[in-house]
Symmetry: C2
Subunit: 353 residues, 2 copies
Amino acid sequence: YRLALLPGDGIGPEVVQAGRRLIEAVAGALGHEVIFEEHAIGGAAIEAFGEPLPEGTLKAAREADAVLLGAVGGPKWDRLGGNRRPEAGLLGIRKALGVYANLRPVRAYTPLLGSSPLRREKVEGVDLLIVRELTGGLYFGPKRREPIDGGTRVVDELVYTTPEIERIVRLAFDAARKAGKGLTSVDKANVLESSRHWREVVERVATDYPDVPFGHMLVDNCAMQLVRSPNQFGIIVTENMFGDILSDEAAVLTGSIGMLPSASLGDGPGLYEPVHGSAPDIAGQGLANPLGTLLSVGLMYRFSLNEPRAEEAIVRAVNRVLAEGYRTADLAGPGDRISRTEEITDAVLERLE
Amino acid sequence: YRLALLPGDGIGPEVVQAGRRLIEAVAGALGHEVIFEEHAIGGAAIEAFGEPLPEGTLKAAREADAVLLGAVGGPKWDRLGGNRRPEAGLLGIRKALGVYANLRPVRAYTPLLGSSPLRREKVEGVDLLIVRELTGGLYFGPKRREPIDGGTRVVDELVYTTPEIERIVRLAFDAARKAGKGLTSVDKANVLESSRHWREVVERVATDYPDVPFGHMLVDNCAMQLVRSPNQFGIIVTENMFGDILSDEAAVLTGSIGMLPSASLGDGPGLYEPVHGSAPDIAGQGLANPLGTLLSVGLMYRFSLNEPRAEEAIVRAVNRVLAEGYRTADLAGPGDRISRTEEITDAVLERLE
Ligand SMILES: CC(C)[C@H](C(=O)O)[C@@H](O)C(=O)O
Ligand SMILES: CC(C)[C@H](C(=O)O)[C@@H](O)C(=O)O
C-alpha cells in the first residue's frame, strides 16, 4: 500500500506519528508492505512552501491508497486572508480528493462514562454516526466583499445541487440499512431554500429504502436532542456546516473529542483524520490523545484497505487500554494517572491481536 | 400601555393566555391601564386570512408598546413554499419591527437541576446570555433555485453589512459591561468571509470597552464547550443561524426549553416570545409549560415598560413555584405530580409580591 501522511500543525505530527506506528504494526502482522509518503499541509506548508496545500502534497495524496491527516491551524496564521490560511489546505484537499462524505462515529466507551458531562444513564449505549456532507455548502460557495456606505457588505453563499445532495443521502441510507438503524436527516427547512430542496431529495431517495425508518429534524432541535437524549439517534445525515457544529457537540458527549475518528470518502482515496483540532496550547509536549487517530486508522482499514478485521482488532485494543485505566490528560479525572501520547500508543500496540 | 398579543399556533394560544393573565395581575398591582390587541400570525393567520403576517397584525404590532408572541408553525403547513409558511410570519414581523437583537438568557434553576441531562456540578450556577443577531444572515439573504443538468442548484446567501454587525456587537458589549461579565463572540472565521469581517468589527468595537474581557470562539468549539462547561460563559454574541442552534442547545442544559424566555429588541416596540416552538403534539391539552412566556413578560417589563422591579417580582414568583415542587410535564421527573398550564400560572400569580 501507498499511504500519504500529512501531519499538519500543532499536535498533528504527534498523533500522526502514533498512527504510523499502528499501521506499521498492523502491516507487519498482515504481511503487507507499506510505503509512507510524508508531506506538509496547513501552517507547516505555509512555513515551508508559502502555501497551505503545495502541489507535491496534493500529488502524493492523489496517488495514495489512503491519506492520514493530523490537524491544521494555529494562532500564528489567524491573521492571514481566507485562501492563504492553513484551513484552506484542509478544505482544498477535501475538495481535490472529492471526499464528499465525512463519517463521524460517536460511541460511548463504558470506561469513560464518568468523564462525560452528561449523566451516565443519558450517554450509556450511545452509538451514533454523523454523515456530514463535506465538499459543498457555505464552505465552498462563492464569497465576496463589496464596499457600501458605512463599511462593507460581505456574502458567503450556501450552494447545493441535486446530485450533491442525492449522493450523500444515498450513502447515509446505505449506512443505515447496513447498520440496521434509523436515519435522521437534519436541516433548517423552515428557513432555508437549500434545506427545502434537501428535504425533497431525501423524500425521493427514501422511496428506494422502504426498510429504513427515517425522519427529518430541524438543526436547532437536533442540537438540543443530542444533549437531551443522544440514544435516540442511529445515523444522522446533514449538510456541511450543520455537520461541523453537531459533530463537535456530539463529540463531547462521550467524554472527550480526543476519542473521535473520522473517515472522508469519495470516489478516490479516502482521507482519515481525528475530529479534534491542532490544539496549539499542548503541541509538542506529548500530551495529545492519539486514540482518535488510531481509531481513524481503523476506519482506514475498513473503508480503504478492505481489512475490516484490522479495524475490529484496533477497536478491541483501544477498549482494553481504556478498561485497564490508561488515560491521556483530556480523559483523566481527579486522581487518574496520566499517560503520555507514546505510552498509550505503546499500550494499544501491545494489545493488538 | 398598548400591547399586541400574537398567540400563533400549537401551544401558542395557551401560553399567551397565561402571559396575559400575568400582565393583568401586574398592571392591576401597579395601577396601569393596559389595552390588549390580539391578532393572528403564522398558521392561524394563513387559515383566517390566507397569509402568515396580515397587514392588521403588523399594524397593531407597530403601534404597540410591546408585542407578546406565542409560537408559529405545525405539520399542517409544512408543505407550503418558503414565504407562504407560518415561519414567514415570524421572520416577517422580526424584520418589520427591526428587532435585530435577540436576547436569550439561560439560567440554572436550582430546583430543576435534577432534570438537566448534565451532571449537577456542570450546570449548577449557569447564568449566561446569548445575544443573537436576528434580522440578517442566511435568514434574510437572497434565496434562489436554478435549473441545472440533473436537477436544481439552490442558493441561500449569508449576508451581513458592517453596521448590522456593529450594532449587535455594541449591544452585547454594553450588556457584558452592565452585567460585569466577559463576552464571547462566536463565529466560523476559519471558513466564512462573513465571520472574518464579524471578527474585525468585534476587534474594533472592543477598543471602546477596555474594561470588558472578551474572546473569539469558533462555533463548532462553542457547541462543544456549552456542554462541556457552560459555566465558563457570561455573554455570547453571534450571528443569526449560529445563535438559533446554540441557544436551543443551551436551552436544554437547564432542564427544559420550556423555561426559556426571549426578548427581541430594536428601535421600535420589543418582541417577546418563549424560546420553545409550537409543540403541535401537545397543543390544546393544557400540558404546555407557560414559564418561558411568563419570564418573557418579565423581560417585557424590564426592556419595554421600564419596570425592572416587576421583572424581579416575576422571577422570584417563578423560583418559589419551582421550589415548592410545581412541575409541568416537561419538567417532571419520575414520581412528580404534574401541574397543568393553568394551575402553574395560578401558582405564579398567587406568589407575585
Ligand atoms: C478546521 C476546520 C476548517 C474544519 C471544518 O470546519 O470542517 C474542522 O472544524 C473540522 O470539522 O474538520
Ligand atoms: C421558527 C423558526 C423560524 C425560529 C428561528 O429559526 O428563528 C425559531 O427556531 C426560533 O429560534 O425562534
